[in-house]
């Protein structure tokens, strides 16, 4: 038994060492990146897998990408078998041949050898500045098929036994926009895998393969036991939920639904997405890797966060994800998938939150505000270069949880707070746009005993040339995330383009031509609420009124709290009357 042969100190050292290697990898990638998605928006995943593709350490990363990283590793093991050598680095972005989320997420995979034996794989996956295809920015609706969305790269050797595969690299960089920029980010990702290799080889040299292997088996076993124990505390039953998006970007104004039936039975959990809508013409189709990753990550939110950094294959063993092909949650080739990590990724995560919150009301978690980004590309008259702009600034914040209001500022549940918003001062230097407004919007949180975080009122002016805006994977202008345990839904998102004195509504999943001087205005809803708003502490409502987050009227009508219009003191008697309670 490994537990008898491994001393607790070695076990703890090996376990924590692997976590810190992963954090170091992420650090190197973010510090050297030139793409905002990597440097600030945390669109990265890293980790360590064993020679069979079992997950060993994944303490940090973007939920859509990393818990399913094992599928890519397993695919490479199957495809290459005895053609995997020290110094090889594989590149893969093809969701259908090698697993992935969508084409801009490129993964570099390095096998790690010790004394001639394949011991581990490491992977660095990150969203690239460009991946070819019809338009820059990779969130464009209405592509004919996945070939039109960009380069489709099945696992190939980017480095072959330490040597650059120059022909391949030339081919790739000849087919992306800003090839030098993409290369910068790729160098950082490959450097991260090199560092992981060095560290793991150091660990293996120190303890030997057998000891490290013994630690791993013990780690997997302990984690699995813990997660089973946690699941067994959830009441058995079948819990169902559904979440929709506004449309698929090709067939407009027709919502698309993700449906979940979650079965809790003893110490196992089954997440069944079979009733989700059939795969779509538009780009909201998702892939098994993304859906698996996001569904499992959402379950982890409900577990004791003390083991947050320790998740591995053992944590995933008690959780089964049923996800048949041909659904919007697991489309067949050559369906388009551009929006998938966020739309329908958000819906996958929301459905798990809603189902789990039914099962576990005292740990209810409400959906966060839906992502409300756009992509703008055009010429920058200051430099003569082309630019592409992408960011999370217009997004509203987190949903409430049982016991606390939503975390302000945290953007998109699909990131779980791993992204950073850009500074206004940084954006104005990087792109030819002038920021007019970026602050909380009034009455924007979903109400509740605990309210969601605020939405954002955001506006900017085009100081550059003619440009194109893709409203990409933004969502929730019509179909909004639902509140839980009696809390209110996220208010809808809204966007306008102002040209001179004309103001027109802009909708999600579309393209708009922009002229110099155009102003884009966005107003996002905040996170959804938890619990009945009329149960909210009147003092908390008053605080929000003082801070102009909730209006006087909303305090009275939604929260049933009466405030003196002059002093803004709580009128206790009137409040009790509004709330229908006797003193």
């Amino acid at each position: 038994m490994p537990s008898r042969t491994i001393d607790p100190i070695t076990l703890s050292t090996v376990w924590h060492a692997m976590q810190s290697y992963c954090r170091e990898m992420k650090h190197v990638i973010t510090r050297t990146a030139q793409s905002i998605l990597i440097a600030h928006l945390g669109d990265i995943s890293v980790g360590i897998w064993d020679a069979d593709g079992r997950t060993i350490a994944v303490p940090t990363g973007l939920p859509s990408q990393f818990l399913g990283g094992k599928f890519t590793i397993q695919y490479i093991v199957e495809q290459f078998r005895d053609r995997i050598h020290p110094g090889d680095v594989f590149l893969c972005n093809d969701p259908y041949h090698g697993y992935g989320n969508h084409l801009p997420d490129w993964a570099f995979i390095r096998p790690i050898f010790h004394e001639g034996r394949l011991c581990f794989f490491t992977l660095a996956r990150a969203h690239q500045y460009d991946t070819g295809g019809a338009y820059p920015g990779s969130y464009f609706p209405n592509a004919y098929d996945i070939i039109a969305e960009g380069l489709n790269i099945p696992p190939v050797k980017f480095l072959d036994q330490g040597r650059d595969n120059e022909d391949l690299q030339r081919l790739i960089y000849n087919n992306v926009r800003w090839p030098e920029a993409v290369r910068v980010d790729n160098l950082g990702m490959i450097a991260a895998t090199t560092i992981c290799e060095r560290r793991l080889q150091g660990l293996l040299a120190k303890y030997g393969f057998d000891v490290v292997k013994g630690c791993i088996e013990e780690m997997l076993e302990r984690t699995e036991r813990f997660v089973r124990n946690q699941i067994s505390q959830i009441p058995d039953g079948v819990y169902s939920a559904e979440a929709g998006c506004d449309d698929d970007g090709t067939v407009l104004d027709e919502p698309v639904w993700v449906r979940l039936d979650m079965t809790v039975a003893g110490d196992t959990l089954t997440l069944d997405f079979s009733r989700s809508d059939a795969q779509r013409k538009g780009f909201v189709n998702s892939t098994h890797l993304a859906v698996y990753s996001q569904a499992v990550a959402s379950v982890f939110l409900f577990l004791d966060s003390a083991i947050a950094n320790y998740h591995n294959e053992g944590s995933m063993a008690p959780i089964t994800v049923i996800n048949p092909t041909g659904r919007v949650t697991n489309a067949n080739w050559p369906c388009t998938v551009g929006a998938a990590p966020i739309t329908v990724g958000s819906q996958v995560m929301e459905s798990v939150l809603m189902a789990m919150s039914q099962a576990f009301p005292k740990r209810a978690i409400a959906p966060w505000a839906r992502h409300y980004r756009h992509y703008i590309f055009g010429p920058d008259p200051r430099t003569g270069d082309r630019y592409v702009q992408s960011m999370f600034e217009p997004d509203g914040g987190a949903g409430a949880v049982w016991g606390y209001d939503g975390f302000e500022g945290a953007a998109s549940i699909t990131t779980l707070g791993e992204v950073a918003r850009a500074n206004v001062e940084e954006m104005e230097v990087r792109v030819p746009w002038w920021m007019l407004r970026y602050e909380f919007a009034g009455d924007s949180p979903g109400a509740g005993q605990w309210r969601g975080a605020c939405g954002v009122h955001w506006a900017m002016r085009n100081d550059g040339g003619e440009a194109t805006m893709s409203t990409g994977n933004a969502d929730a202008e019509v179909v909004v995330p639902k509140g839980v345990a009696g809390g209110s839904d996220c208010p809808p998102n809204m966007c306008w383009i102002v040209r001179g004195d004309q103001r027109t509504v802009a909708r999600v999943h579309r393209y708009y031509d922009l002229k110099p001087g155009d102003v884009i205005i966005k107003q996002s809803g905040g996170g959804a609420g938890v619990g009945d708003p009329t149960e909210r502490d009147p003092e908390a409502v008053r605080e929000d009124v003082l801070d102009a987050i909730v209006t006087h009227q909303a305090a009275r009508e939604i929260y049933k709290v009466a405030l003196d219009p002059k002093t803004l003191e709580i009128d206790r008697q009137e409040t009790r009357r509004l709330r229908g309670r006797s003193s």
């Binding site: 607790p8 060492a17 050297t32 030139q34 966060s305 939503g406 302000e408 791993e418």
Partner: protein, 689 residues
Amino acid sequence: MIVSIDVGGTFTDCLVLDGDGAVRAFKAPTTPRSPAEGVMQVLQKAARTQGQSLDEFIGGIELLIHGTTLATNALVERRGATVGMLTTKGFRDILALRRGFKNVGGRSMYDVFLPPYRPLVPRRHRMPVTERMTSQGQVAVPLDEGEVRQAAETLRAEGATSVAVCFLHSYANGSDETRAAEILREAFPQAYVVTSHEILPVWGEFERFSTTVASAFVGPLVSTYLDDLRSRLDARGLKGRLLLVQADGHVQSVGEVARKAVYLVGSGPAAAPTAGTFIGDLGGHRDLISIDMGGTSFDVCLARNGQVETTTEMWVGEERLAIKMRDIHTVGAGGGSIAWVDSLGLLRVGPQSAGAEPGPACYGRGGEHPTVTDAALVLGYIPADYFLGGEITLDIGLAREALGRLGSRLGMDAAAAAQAVFQAVNGFMASQITEISTRRGYDVRDFALVAGGGAGPVHAGFLAELLGIRTVIVPETAALYSALGMLLMDIGRDYARTLISPAAALDIGKVNGVCEAMEGEALAAFRAVGIPTADVRLVRSADMRYAKQFHEIEVELPPRPLEAADIPTVLEEFHRQHEARYTFAMKFRAVDFITFRLHASASRRAELRLGARPNAPGRRETVVEKRRRRAFFGGGMQDVSVYDGPALPQGHPLKGPAIIEEETTTVIVPPGFAVEVDDAHNYILAFGG
């Protein structure tokens, strides 16, 4: 006579350095309600030892250097001023959005049951004002002075006592902030007013605003305290200078610090690495790791070539501070850290600490949890009868009981549990040292370890063994490590100005203009404390990055006005540093300059006589054993020699295993190491010696 005073959470430490180079240590309890009171008490204690009255003693002080955790604690515990904020209209919530950072302070993405972040300034006190600058410093929308007056009225009515003026792009042109501050001071003269371009004139509004608001938050408290301290000292006839320890590892005049109070955050611990570099230098060690292990925390800091590393990326509690601070990595591991078994059945130590009350189980004050100190006691490393010079008698039975309870959960007895706890905390600390050395591309074996704090010298030898470090240095006043550093710090400050430009298009004249402005500001500050320009050392540097990257690397510039011919050399150095840190450089890529920095300091080495001091009273001629004790070395309990530290002769190496008892600490010398007292009264542990 030079005096240093370190006001910590529990104790106020004081060191007195005499003309002959002797250092004497004093401790008094900290008086949180009025910290100046505790300062006077410790000075009283020191005076008494000298046989002087307080007035005589204070009158004889040439220089008083002072560090305090006042600002740090106020920030972390959120006990500061009611702050109002004036900010550019349309951008009211930069502080609250916090750039979306949720997972700070070691939190995981899976942590969602969290109270949401509440900024130091509530929204109702964040007053939008019409004005707007461009990134090039041109006025796009003029300041509405009427709105500033209106905001001043509102904030006054709301009971604000401090105001932070934070406008967009003020790093490029601070005139709107300056004008708004003028109006505020006029309309609301009682308020403490700061502007973001004065506190930190660098690019990136969230970081600048957050730092400025933190300064406004602690400012009134800091000023009140400094006024109080100043007047008490003046009343006792202080003629010497009073200097304060700043986060960047320099000391600065009271006036400068009162205006930029945020620089006092981290004040105490920032001093410790200076003791490390000074003492290391005496023995020719320029690459050092300084550790400071006290009751609750373990501070570790790296110095290369005698220079302590700094960072601009610190979070203090929930607040982001972007001033340059010493890069001190702090984790919850100290003598009082509690050992526990986590939900995965792993032994963990800290970050929870038993603190001073109830303290470790062996204190006998009701502490039931086993701590690192309990383990050290059971393993025979620390004396039961001479802890803090005998001030506290430790109860080994209680320590064994607590460790026995822990051990029963791990299937081991109390002795084995003590070993496991001791090893676990050492393993954890060693990994923290690796975190700041190996992970930055340095080979930890090339460094010497300087150990301070009461618990540091107990563990340092074992840490060195784990990491392959060959030299450990323990100062005789190890337990007052920060106060020792304070005695030795240089006077100075870091300055910064953002000027964003591609290297290929750098306006050299403009750069030199910016650098000269910073130098002018620095030299004026030095003159104000009586330091002539000739004594000031100026180091220019630039934060640089590859075009479109988001993070910079600081590269040193020539110590004179820049010339076009310097650029290739500077670029070469940037490529080299990028490669050293991240394993690759990208010479094909254009490079941008972002922020220019100036580091101004005046060395105090000349006035310090701390160093060789061969004829110390109390030291014997030969090594005499104090007693023997059973302690855990080389896999088992064995009988080892215990020595009385202050009586050991200089220059007589002793072989480990050995234990040396000082009044406030114990130096453990593992097998394989030899120890000797050098002529500056430090313990030097050498591997294989």
